[in-house]
């Protein structure tokens, strides 16, 4: 299920309103949050705030209700001003995590008349306008825009960067040190691999 979280970024002051698939992890360090939870891909939200733990909370849809689970952080979570560790969430609830107030909406606020296209020329972002009339960004077609660079934004097989794209979940980028490494999950998958399989995969006879 999709939910929309809205908050003001404490560093930039910009409003953020992503629509995300549950489960959703919230924390300060992107890499500290799990990429998967019970076999489901986790949408990870990183908010740079000293009062937010590296992996602070998880929002998930369980037994037909949306719940929030604090990840044993000292600062905890407040839902509509009430301090708690775990709890269910209703549409429009306000979460206080660190210095950030996050509003939870079950139904995305993109109405039928609102443009939900991803716009931007060099990098994509949601349009968010209430109509498409005279919008300079909504109207050009992909072909018109990227006629000078066929396959722009495509990293699939045969395109530039396809190997990196397909293995993107295996990389771990540490913004503090600037190092890029394989993730722990990937290292574990290598550990679990039987020696025979490993040799076969390497093309040994």
């Amino acid at each position: 299920m999709q939910i929309q979280l809205s908050w003001i970024d404490p560093n930039t002051g910009n409003r953020r309103e992503p629509i995300l698939e549950t489960p959703v992890a919230i924390g300060r360090q992107f890499s500290a949050m799990p990429p998967q939870n019970n076999g489901q891909r986790v949408s990870r939200i990183a908010i740079e705030d000293d009062l937010i733990a590296d992996y602070h909370a998880l929002i998930d849809w369980q037994n037909q209700e949306l719940i929030i689970i604090s990840q044993n952080t000292p600062n905890g979570i407040q839902v509509n001003g009430v301090q708690l560790n775990n709890g269910s969430l209703d549409n429009g609830d306000r979460l206080q995590i660190g210095s950030c107030e996050i509003v939870v909406n079950f139904t995305p606020t993109v109405s039928s008349g609102e443009c939900d296209r991803m716009v931007g020329f060099l990098f994509k972002r949601r349009c968010g306008r209430t109509d498409r009339i005279d919008c300079p960004h909504c109207n050009p077609t992909y072909q018109e825009d990227y006629a000078y660079y066929s396959g722009y934004g495509d990293y699939h097989s045969g395109c530039w960067g396809s190997d990196y794209y397909y293995n993107r979940d295996r990389y771990y980028y540490n913004p503090e040190t600037g190092n890029v490494d394989f993730t722990e999950a990937d290292a574990m998958s290598l550990e679990n691999e039987y020696d025979g399989d490993f040799e076969q995969n390497m093309g040994a006879s």
Binding site: L122, G161, Y173
Partner: protein, 293 residues
């Protein structure tokens, strides 16, 4: 900031730090100044031509009727007046010549700025330096060498950085785009078959260099380093241009491209190249962002 016409006439330079709306307004003003200058040049050119032709016709007519004293004198004076007016019109025409700037430069700037603004905040400030000076001017001379084949001849080389655009995208990546025109001029004395010496000069374009620098936020795009050595393959350019340099550091990507002389003033080819350079850079950065997540 409104364009100071007297200042602009002196240095033919448009330099501004302003948001898109102001820049577009100024570029529109420049195009209006240019078209006014073109119209005035045409008008005074026609006046000079017609008054000159009229003067000649009247002069011939005055000779024909030279036996009729009074009429002939009147015709001679009218001829003189027309020739003086013709010279005056030519002088006026030459005054507007300076303001008749090349459409290509402001049209291209307008297109590029509009393209870049799509990924910028509307309040973001563009830092623009747009010069309309000719490339072959003394102040742009970088070297003078002897001609390799013609004795006594020399070759002057010129470099003129006529467009610089700097600003920042919404993703906090700062960009700097520089367009540098190149030209060569050979000159010297040539002896004709009759034995007379004539001073000759010949100019040709040396092409156009386009340099783009994208200084990106490391937190967002720092993973660029893992495909640092393969970035060359991500650069796609039109056939009119060639890649001259590519430098990737921890903080920036720098792409240098050269356009062949025949395309150096081709608005479409230059815009196509600039767009391709930005798209190539972001083909790399967008993948880095996917990995850095």
């Amino acid at each position: 900031m409104p364009i100071e016409l007297s200042q602009f006439r002196k240095n033919l330079l448009y330099a501004v730090q302003a948001p898109l709306v102001n820049v577009m307004h100024d570029l529109q003003t420049l195009s209006e100044i240019d078209s006014l200058a073109e119209r005035q040049q045409k008008k005074y050119g026609k006046q000079a031509l017609f008054s000159f032709i009229g003067g000649i016709v009247l002069f011939i007519f005055a000779i024909v009727v030279s036996d009729k004293g009074g009429i002939a004198i009147a015709l001679f004076f009218t001829t003189l007046a027309l020739l003086i007016f013709s010279i005056y019109a030519l002088v006026r025409r030459s005054k507007f010549k300076h303001l008749n700037i090349g459409n290509y430069r402001y049209n291209l700037t307008k297109q590029v700025v509009q393209m870049l603004a799509r990924d910028m905040d509307t309040a973001s400030i563009f830092d623009i330096n747009l010069s309309f000076q000719a490339i072959e001017k003394k102040e742009h001379l970088i070297s003078t060498n002897s001609h390799p084949h013609k004795s006594g001849w020399k070759i002057d080389s010129f470099l003129h950085e006529w467009l610089i655009i700097k600003s920042q995208f919404l993703d906090k990546t700062r960009f700097e785009l520089r367009l540098t025109g190149m030209a060569k001029k050979q000159y010297g004395w040539k002896r004709g078959s009759s034995g007379k010496s004539k001073y000759k000069s010949k100019s040709k374009s040396g092409g156009l260099d386009i340099d783009l620098s994208l200084t990106y936020p490391q937190r967002r795009y720092g993973a660029v380093k893992i495909f640092k050595n393969e970035i060359n393959d991500a650069i796609k350019l039109p056939q009119t241009s060639i890649l001259r340099g590519l430098r990737v550091t921890e903080k920036a990507i720098q792409i240098s491209v050269r356009l062949a002389p025949q395309f150096a003033e081709d608005e479409y080819a230059v815009y196509q190249t600039i767009t391709s350079m930005f798209l190539s850079g972001y083909q790399v950065l967008n993948l880095a962002k996917l990995i850095a997540k």
